[in-house]
Symmetry: C2
Subunit: 846 residues, 2 copies
């Protein structure tokens, strides 16, 4: 068979009609046919191909017998054909290929001439056996092929198989090519509609009714081991995205029926050049890097089809950047290609795909990245490890503020309770520490210093484990990891994103370390600086506790005076590391009992340290206890009932601002009042803060500006935003708390409820992961419109766990927010998501 | 002086002008003048009177000297006058009276003729001394009056006083009546404007600028001990309101300068008849019962003024009812007179006003009424007392569900923490048990079984105390009490209220006892039956706990099958005691851990009872713990994650309904789903309940109807009410939880925050006592309008602590609610408040 001039163009067959001019679409002919159509259109050499439409295959299954002669007419008189499935969507799966269709007694000599007699006989044997099995569901006895079989023995075996076919099937093996082709089509149509195949499609997220087209292709013959050699090639490294031309052997799918070439591939220079040209053509046409499947006839290559290459995020980004640089796509197209969430894997080390450590627990992928270290059950144990420069993983049933120090020290965090918005998860993401939360299938025995797995294996303090916060699993021992990849291409890519977006991105950052990460990842300022974390340092915590146990305002003021220079130092460092950038500082928010010791030993130590009896201390600590701390004495309520605290904080901020200004650093402090419910709260705090500002201006002689705003976290604050905006120049929406209160669900206790609700479809999604537009969203919108009515230049923003999600960013743009503020490690994600939202809107507007 | 023909009419003096025809108004002349004007108008005999206007007194104080001759012109040539203050509002307080104005050397013989020479001389002495002291602030030496002083000695003393006046004051004692009157007016004007007097007015809630008028009246002289006798009379008993004509002596105010009559009063028949006629005239004119002040000249009575009688609520109601029956006022007027909150004192025994027991603690008046008993610190100690038929007072730092049993048993409750909506307060009001909550000035040492007061006094278990839940105080020992008074008049009055109101009133009732009280107090049905309270009985609690610790759904179902007949019995009793009346049953709401034991001993007992190890039990109990139980796994979330519970409850309700129906009792069960946030929750529960209903209809062969509704307690449910109404035929607003979530304030922890906020004016009122119209109210209104859009015949109601307040009732009517549901003991209050709201609206509409 001389194929060189006859490959392509593709012909399409819709039912009985063949029209060589019709360009097959995926909708009518399936994705494989459409892709081959594109190859033909680009003038790439393909085998001659006929596409059978989805309707025609459907009709065949429905009982209409297809007239295959118009298909056969497209090929030379004795065709040897492959019939492949071309489902509407390639990810649906398919039906096994039919090869050698048309091979019969008459065609055998021609095939023998092309690939040699023995190989031709082997092909015929496979064809007969396969036909019996696939079309008639009959297995024909055949001794396993012996390596040393002679040509003669092969001929005898063919005769035995034809005889066996007649006996077992009841008819002669069909010698007519059209009969063979019709049988192949009917078998594939039936296979596609089997219950098991339909179920599989459903499981993959497609409709059971998804249609199947077929692709009938002339086989490319070669004098190789099985008469046909299939190769694959790709032009880049899928991990890095760098140029790296490679040719491999065969294909994964349908490999059982495809001949494999030698494992070592040495292409002729001519082939490689041609393939590189084809890749380049397709790259320009498809604006992506693909994998080619091709066959050769010993001289030329014939492209059978191509597929989308599964690439790492780094590779995706590099490919996109290079396509822009090559003028194939524009920057906006490039930005739209990457799912922002996928960037997360670039920002942390990852467990290597080659790791084969045993999985000992599964939980929620609460903070991405990989970390190995020795198990510790407390912050103090983490201290000990850190002193010896040993890595550790903090393991707690659940975390609280007293664990933050340990979380700073530890390389990873594992908790037994809590979901995506548990304390551990929120803090870990903020710190960029890998975390697996809510690992419910292990038992925590912190008292006896042990973890017990489902299978009864015990891990003790000091045993090494690996946290895979990207996958949400815990591995035994130290698993191999890959370093984070955030190279030139990603930086370039995110710079483009910054040019496209119209929503500001700030970071939630409480410490200098977090500020550094935030700046490295491109944050434009700090949107939420939680001052409470500044008090958890051991030396400060004692003073803080002294303040809490003060029995008079004067005593309390004394303790606060010790804290003042510390806070002033904190803020000065912040301002210095963020010159000219806005810093939004939230006044003290958590209930005071969060700062108290939790066990008797610590209480006794504290009693000694501050000179109170243990009874007095215990009694006061009891008094501070609350049934529902989330709904208790915290936020501005604390600021109003113990006004000395906010006064000290305001003084620290202003003295730091004055000092920074005096040093020539441009400073933009924004002070935020938390947990507001009534306008009068803002009025009282504003009065106090304005007065402190005046005092500091007078005492330092430095003039500085600041803004005062309100954190909208309660439904009532949202409803009353019109009033609040009269005394606030900005509103920042704390969607975590707002979601908690709108639903009456605590995020700390939510995991088990919300998971079950999402599973049962009660909630379409976890409202702590994806903003609830119907409830929380309506409150936000009410607040925005009421606030803007009062103050048209009101600055609006959103901070909290939701902030960096694409969905929230889209919402925030629609709601005319100025910026969102998220954990430093999510800043790149937010930058891209914001760019995409802007591009999509511009495109939708035409 | 012949006064008989010259008494009245009143003349008024505005500045210098006197116009006898002008009727003095309280605005221009003060309340006393206006009242005397009314007496004159009614033809009641009064002394001749001239009113001096507020403007004239103000001008006098401002420096303008009043021309008193037009005043004096109204009296006979040698008048003896009293000058009394007539402030704009009588409750402002006043300035001391001037008596004997006009008494001088020339008038002395006339006076001597009227009342005897010695009495006349005594009056003159008092007048001179008083004038020096009040007008000139000079004390004139005078030996104390000796009882046996002769007329001669009196004459000598008058001379000495006139001499002493001249020497000490520097001028002669003024003999001119006009000079005396001018001095009196000036002195009183000055006294009214002293800083101390202004402060007193402010303290009483009036402006410091409130004006003063004066009343100048001819003195009624009598040959009595001091020349003038003042009496008071009233026609009813102020405690009961029953007719009970009494005459008393003197008056409380200004008593120092008024002569007192003998303590035994024997009126002539003529006087009594005349006074009864005057009372009757005034009752008809004022539509109220008053106290008269009158003087006599030995022959006739002259009315000096009248005052409003301070009556008990029972008396107020009886007076109102009798005024209606006498045709003086109509029923609506009667209904508007009584503050609904005041009815509370009729529904419980009260501490007698005569009690003089020492107050040992103060707190919040959380549930009205009085109760005495021995201190107990636990439900089990209460049990022991009850077994011995001894009364007891349950004393707890705070209460939880495990104390409900004790609260049922105890006669009163005292807690150290919590406000009006703390657990203790809510339950106590529901049970009608007197309660003082949040008594922060005593220390609770339950471990050592003692209470320690501020003053260091120790009360131990078994010591007797009295709870005054009406006043919010705790008394030492058993204080005397008055029984509750809810007589015929009150019933009549509330029947009228029922005729006027257009808002339904139901009761929150969980037990038969509560239902009985509710019916006695006029509830039209049960608006909230909290099924959880049915499980706190000891025998059921164990089965409930067995259910909670079940390790498989099958085991759980087994425990629930034991609970089923108990619940069915509960509901059958409910239906039987409320034939034809609606009963709204809330499915299980609280988090399961509320049913768990709280100490190790109880846990160990339970472990034994249900055959689990203490470790397993403790672990499971730990798992159920929540940071913020209010925001945790409760309400419909529990119903969905453990569907067997609601299934059992629905079955119990329906089987009871079927049985009641079969017995010919008309049954209207309404089933309410608590803590809804998403429509799908309602859909799932509705599907389950409808199925159970079908099963029970099929198995019993009885057809019964029921309604399914949603309790709107979360802001999200309010926002999504439009959707919810598609599957709910009624919405009941739980304003306690809705307020908690809208504000982000827990009612259990609210007392200290909210109290301080109300004190600082941050909140205008405690949002748990008075519905917050701006925030919570807006959510309610949104929910109503959205719900009605979906289902125009949606039944709307409100249950919770707010329900019986006048403010909430007004709001509920405006919002078109069908009914409110409150604690049984507040049903009469709600009935009256609803009537008042309806009447006020009709009147405002004209």
């Amino acid at each position: 068979m001389d194929t060189s001039g006859k490959m392509g163009p593709i012909a399409t067959s819709c039912a009985q009609v063949v029209a060589a001019s019709e360009r097959p679409t995926a909708r009518n002919f399936g994705e494989r046919a459409a892709r081959i159509g594109r190859l033909v259109e680009l003038g790439i050499r393909c085998p001659r191909t006929v596409a059978v439409s989805i309707d025609a295959v459907g009709a065949e299954h429905g009982g209409a017998a297809m007239d295959v002669s118009p298909v056969l007419d497209q090929f030379e008189p004795r065709p040897l054909l492959s019939v492949r499935s071309s489902p509407r969507f390639s990810r649906c799966g398919g039906v096994g290929v039919f090869l050698w269709v048309g091979l019969n007694n008459a065609a055998l000599p021609m095939l023998a001439e092309r690939i040699g007699r023995k190989r031709a006989l082997h092909a015929y044997k496979r064809h007969i056996r396969n036909f019996a099995y696939r079309v008639h569901e009959v297995e024909i006895d055949s001794p396993s092929r012996q390596p040393g079989q002679s040509t003669r023995e092969c001929e005898v075996e063919v005769g035995r198989l034809l005889e066996s076919f007649r006996r077992k099937v009841g008819t002669e093996f069909p010698q007519s090519p059209s009969e063979q082709l019709r049988a192949a089509v009917r078998t594939m149509a039936k296979g596609w509609n089997k219950p098991s195949a339909r179920l599989l499609r459903t499981a993959r997220g497609f409709s059971g009714e998804t249609g199947l087209g077929l692709v009938v292709q002339e086989m490319v013959l070669c004098r190789s081991s099985r008469g046909m050699r299939v190769w694959s090639s790709q032009a880049i490294n899928v991990e890095t995205g760098r140029k790296d031309f490679r040719v491999g052997i065969g294909e994964q799918a349908n490999s059982a029926d495809i001949a494999t070439a030698d494992s070592e591939v040495a292409l002729s220079r001519g082939w490689e050049d041609e393939l590189r040209r084809i890749h380049d053509k397709l790259r320009r046409s498809l604006a992506d890097e693909i994998q080619l499947r091709f066959a050769d006839d010993g001289t030329d290559v014939f492209v059978l089809e191509y597929g989308v290459l599964q690439k790492s995020v780094a590779a995706e980004v590099r490919v996109a950047v290079e396509l822009v640089q090559a003028g194939v796509i524009d920057k906006q197209d490039a930005l739209l290609r990457i799912d922002p969430e996928n960037l997360a894997s670039l920002l942390h080390p990852q467990v290597s795909p080659e790791a084969n450590n045993r999985v000992i627990a599964k939980g929620i992928a609460a903070s991405p990245g990989a970390a190995s270290g020795a198990i510790v059950f407390s912050s103090s144990a983490a201290d000990v490890r850190a002193a010896r420069s040993q890595g550790c993983i903090l393991v707690r049933a659940e975390t609280g503020p007293e664990d933050i120090r340990g979380m700073h020290i530890a390389q990873g965090v594992l908790t037994g309770r809590g979901g995506m918005t548990s304390h551990a998860a929120v803090i870990a993401r903020g710190l960029g520490v890998p975390c697996v939360a809510g690992a419910t299938n292990i038992d925590f025995w912190p008292q006896s210093g042990a973890l017990v797995t489902d299978e009864g294996n015990i891990f003790r303090e000091g045993d090494t484990i690996t946290i895979d916060g990207t996958a949400g699993v815990v591995l035994e021992g130290a698993a191999p990891t890959l370093p984070p990849d955030y190279g030139r291409a990603v930086r370039q890519f995110l710079d483009w994103a910054d040019c496209c977006r119209d929503l500001g991105i700030r970071a939630n950052a409480d410490t200098l370390d977090e500020v550094k990460i935030a700046l490295r990842f491109g944050a434009e300022g700090v949107g939420l600086c939680r001052t409470e974390h500044m008090f958890f340092d051991e030396s400060r915590l004692t003073v803080m506790r002294e303040m809490i146990f003060a029995s008079t305002p004067a005593e309390r003021r004394q303790s606060l005076e010790k804290l003042l220079p510390m806070q002033r130092g904190d803020f000065l460092q912040l301002f210095q590391s963020l010159p000219g950038k806005p810093v939004c500082i939230r006044l003290l928010d958590p209930p005071l009992h969060e700062f108290l010791p939790h066990d008797q030993d610590e209480l006794a130590d504290l009693a000694e340290a501050i000179g109170l009896s243990l009874e007095q201390l215990t009694a006061r600590a009891e008094e501070l206890k609350e049934f529902n701390p989330m709904l208790g004495l915290r936020g501005v309520r604390l600021g109003i009932s113990v006004p000395e605290i906010y006064e000290m904080q305001a003084r620290a901020i202003f003295e730091a601002a004055a000092e920074a200004t005096a040093r020539g650093i441009s400073v933009s402090p924004e002070i935020m009042v938390p947990l507001v419910t009534a306008n009068r709260e803002v009025v009282l705090v504003k009065r106090q803060i304005d007065q402190v500002a005046e005092e500091v201006r007078a005492s330092t002689g430095v003039d500085f500006e600041f803004e005062l705003g309100v954190m909208v976290e309660t439904p009532r604050a949202a409803l009353r935003a019109g009033e609040l905006a009269a005394n606030a120049t900005f509103l920042s929406f704390g969607t975590n708390d707002l979601t908690q209160l709108t639903y009456g669900i605590s995020r700390d206790d939510s995991a088990r409820i919300v998971d079950e609700y999402v599973r049962l479809g009660v909630f379409p999604a976890d409202p702590f992961s994806r903003i609830d537009r119907e409830g929380v969203g309506e409150l936000l919108q009410l607040a925005v419109s009421r606030g803007m009515d009062t103050r048209p230049d009101l600055l609006l923003s959103l901070c909290g766990e939701h902030a960096a999600s694409a969905d929230t960013i889209e919402f925030s743009r629609q709601a005319k927010f100025s910026y969102v503020s998220c954990s430093p490690f999510r800043v790149p994600i937010a930058r891209l998501a914001a760019a995409q939202a802007a591009i999509r809107q511009r495109r939708a507007a035409g």
